[in-house]
């Protein structure tokens, strides 16, 4: 071991050769940089960055789709795009923004932050984590591949992008009404994304519950980590409902069942129930992590601990729990009967209480603080204001009879964009700005950050505030075009101009980030004088996160450390010694198999979607159905999983030299 120590001064590129694995087809990848390192990584930070990068790309694509929608609606009787394309656009805009932008952005932050905030070196199951990522990519591909049909006649077979709306109400999704492949791909794409989310969430549940550093009791967890935990629970408990619903549509479409086929005695309304049993918790899945970011950012810039921590945590849990009992508020117009309608209306209103508690506590955090209006803080404050407005229109919807006039109008569009953009997205933009220095080691210029904030803030309100009035004035949503005599012309024009402004704002925001990545001022490890553990380690964090697993003594662990320096330094030194005597810092090995099994899934799912179609390659029919390829995909996946199981977690050790150098070693100890 001493030899190993001497030989491998860790320079980022040099590393110990992998032990000749006994149960392995491929040599275990060990690259630390370059393409292979990203494809085979199990490092939660790299995985987080990949999630984040993909999500931002999809956010921009979803935004572009929104801009096309807004352009079409700019003037009455516009024919900028066709009805068909419009329907594809709003379906994919909604699906993309929710499943491919906001959810993975949250997943990115779970990955980047949770292990560090709990004082761990990685998640509980690093390879499973990589698997979640690649499976997510597969889902994203399946959902979007249909766009290709718009680019070339040879690709018409995709039938266009999905066009049944983001909640795909049966029976519009049946073969009779949407016979083309797009709906099959939508069904399977969502299914695959669900798989990814469930697997990832299980991982985070175990990580948060089991991998906490010594002293980090549950009631000392950073609020963001708490919200990650609640969100993960919501995911594993809500996604099964839609998974089953999707299986049922898939069976209806491909195997002749009649779950939602009236001709066989099915009841399409069941789809709505199953969808919203998932769908409502889903919106809290989107908003709870943002509430977590804000709960970290506000105390940092108010330089005060979060007001009423236990109640904030508890209300987060309560929101999650009550969120499972309100799904039918999306179905007030489906004639559920008075008792059911009243019950769901009241339950929905009840959610305003724990949500209000959070707002009050954030204000309590500001009260008596020393507020520094840095850019993340401005987005966080913007979040409070805008989310509050969105929440109020939510409560208006909860009044069921009033909702009969609002359901499926632009009033709903206004409501959920206020909570989704004013809420979730603002908080995400705050978070990106806040943690950018941590993960890229560079500061984002304040001035340009603020410019982008104001552009986004003003643009957002110009876009969506008028929509309340459009809705009240009777403008239905999912409207490809409208007449000029409805009184909607000006509101729409205004909203569209606002959307362009918003687009410029978003563009500025990301352009500034890219600029800062190359040219930003180098950030120290703790540029904001922040409070949680991630700020205790270098920026960007080393692969093993912590030289010594910290011992947590208080809620804002790093704040405490900063104010008890000597005591902590002593403790740390001891920990480092103890760990080295146990063989050094244990790190998991990289692996090809998560990627391979996801690849198998892609092949399998893509072909399964069109299982009954003849398989045509280069104009020749190769097989009567896609079954052989679907099976091939399945076999690749299972084989990869099998080899994955045999390969074992592997692992190597890092050793911290006295000069701060890190060395690597392999082999048993």
């Amino acid at each position: 071991m001493a030899e190993a120590l001497a030989k491998n001064a860790y320079t980022g590129g040099a590393h110990a050769p992998a032990k000749k694995a006994t149960f392995d087809l491929f040599a275990r990848p060990t690259a630390k940089t370059g393409l292979v390192s990203w494809l085979t990584t199990v490092d939660h930070k790299k995985i987080g960055m990949l999630y984040g990068g993909f999500a931002i790309i999809f956010f921009l694509i979803g935004g572009l789709e929104a801009l096309m929608i807004r352009t079409q609606l700019m003037v009455p009787n516009n024919r900028f795009i066709t009805a068909q394309l419009y329907n594809e656009l709003f379906t994919m805009h909604g699906t993309t923004m929710i499943f491919l932008a906001v959810m993975p952005l949250n997943a990115a932050f779970f990955n980047l932050l949770v292990p560090i905030q709990v004082g761990a070196r990685d998640v509980a199951f690093p390879r499973l984590n990589a698997f979640s990522l690649w499976v997510w990519v597969v889902g994203a591909i399946l959902l979007n591949v249909g766009w290709l049909s718009h680019f070339s006649d040879a690709l018409k077979g995709f039938g266009g992008a999905p066009d049944a709306g983001w909640f795909g109400y049966a029976p519009l999704t049946s073969r009779t009404f949407t016979p083309d492949l797009s709906t099959d791909l939508w069904v399977l794409g969502l299914q695959v994304l669900g798989l990814s989310s469930i697997v990832a969430s299980l991982n985070f549940i175990v990580t948060i519950i089991n991998m906490r550093a010594p002293g980090l009791t549950m009631m000392r967890l950073p609020v963001f980590t708490w919200m990650a935990l609640v969100t993960s629970f919501l995911l594993i408990l809500a996604l099964p409902a839609i998974a089953i619903a999707l299986v049922e549509v898939m069976m209806d479409r491909n195997f002749g069942t009649s779950f939602f086929e009236v001709s066989g005695g099915g009841q399409p309304i069941l789809w709505q129930h199953l969808f919203w049993v998932f769908g409502h918790p889903e919106v809290y899945i989107l908003i709870l992590p943002p509430m977590g970011y804000v709960s970290e950012i506000l105390p940092t810039f108010a330089r005060k601990p979060l007001f009423g921590y236990p109640i904030v945590v508890f209300s987060g849990v309560a929101i999650g729990f009550i969120g499972f009992g309100v799904w039918s508020h999306h179905m007030f117009t489906t004639g559920m009967g008075n008792v059911a309608t009243a019950a769901f209306a009241l339950a929905t209103m009840a959610i305003a209480v724990p949500t209000g508690v959070k707002i009050f506590n954030w204000i309590g955090t500001l009260w008596g603080g020393q507020i520094m209006t840095r850019v993340p803080m401005m987005f966080a404050l913007g979040f409070i204001w805008m989310f509050m407005l969105g929440g109020f229109s939510g409560v208006m919807h909860a009044a069921a009879p009033a909702d009969a006039q609002q359901q499926d109008t632009y009033f709903v569009i206004a409501h959920f964009h206020y909570v989704l953009i004013g809420g979730a997205t603002f908080a995400l933009l705050a978070a990106i700005h806040f943690w950018f220095p941590k993960f890229f080691g560079r500061m984002v210029p304040e001035f340009w950050g603020k410019v982008s904030f104001w552009l986004i803030f003003v643009g957002f309100n110009c876009t969506f505030f008028p929509m309340h009035f459009l809705g009240l004035n009777g403008m239905p949503r999912r409207t490809w075009t409208y007449d000029s005599n409805m009184g909607w012309n000006e509101g729409n024009l205004f909203a569209t101009l606002g959307a362009y402004l918003l687009g410029i704002g978003i563009f500025t925001y990301f352009a500034v980030l890219i600029y800062s990545y190359f040219k930003g001022k180098v950030a120290g490890s703790d540029p904001w004088d922040a409070r949680t553990l991630e700020w205790s380690i270098p920026s960007p964090p080393p692969e093993h996160n912590f030289a010594a697993i910290p011992t947590v003594h208080a809620r804002d662990a790093w704040w405490y450390e900063k104010h008890h320096k000597e005591e902590i330094a002593k403790e740390k030194a001891e920990h480092i010694k103890a760990e080295e005597s146990h063989g050094g810092i244990h790190m998991p090995d990289q692996s090809w198999y998560p990627l391979f099994s996801a690849f198998g899934l892609l092949v399998g799912a893509y072909n399964f979607a069109q299982i009954h179609q003849p398989l045509v390659l280069f104009g020749n029919q190769v097989s009567a159905s896609h079954l052989p390829l679907a099976i091939t995909g399945g076999v690749i996946m299972v084989a990869a999983l099998y080899l994955w199981a045999l390969e074992g977690p592997g692992g190597y050790h890092l050793h911290l030299g006295p000069d701060g150098k890190v060395t690597e070693s392999r082999g048993d100890h």
């Binding site: 009779t176 009236v262 005695g265 009841q267 049993v277 499972f324 009992g325 009967g337």
Partner: protein, 117 residues
């Protein structure tokens, strides 16, 4: 590993205990099957069936899956899922049992046939 075995930190064997549990479970299953054929009031049979299977359920999770000997947290974790799933099922059944939800079936089938025509 041999050192471990020597250290003798073994579980006490639950072999016979497990067998007893399994026997009880089989007997209960038998009772269930017989119950449905007995000329008893319907409410009684339904209640007993539900109680008996709930009992079996609990026996399996607490003994075979050793929740009884594990940290309570495992129990809590599982019951979160169980309670939510049960609650959702309960709500769905009530929603569909409501008068407003009586399907039109016969008429609807007719319409569906027209639509296809």
């Amino acid at each position: 590993m041999s050192a471990l075995t020597a250290a003798g930190h073994h579980e006490p064997s639950k072999f016979h205990f497990y067998i007893q549990v399994a026997m009880i479970l089989s007997v209960v299953t038998g009772i269930e099957v017989v119950l449905v054929y007995l000329p008893l009031p319907k409410w009684f049979v339904v209640t007993s069936l539900l109680t008996l299977s709930a009992g079996k359920f609990m026996a399996v999770i607490f003994y075979f899956m050793h929740l009884r000997w594990d940290k309570v947290f495992c129990t809590i974790l599982f019951f979160i899922g169980l309670v939510l799933a049960g609650g959702t099922m309960w709500a769905l059944l009530h929603l569909f049992a409501a008068d407003a939800s009586k399907p039109l079936t016969a008429a609807a089938l007719e319409m569906a046939r027209l639509a296809v025509a």
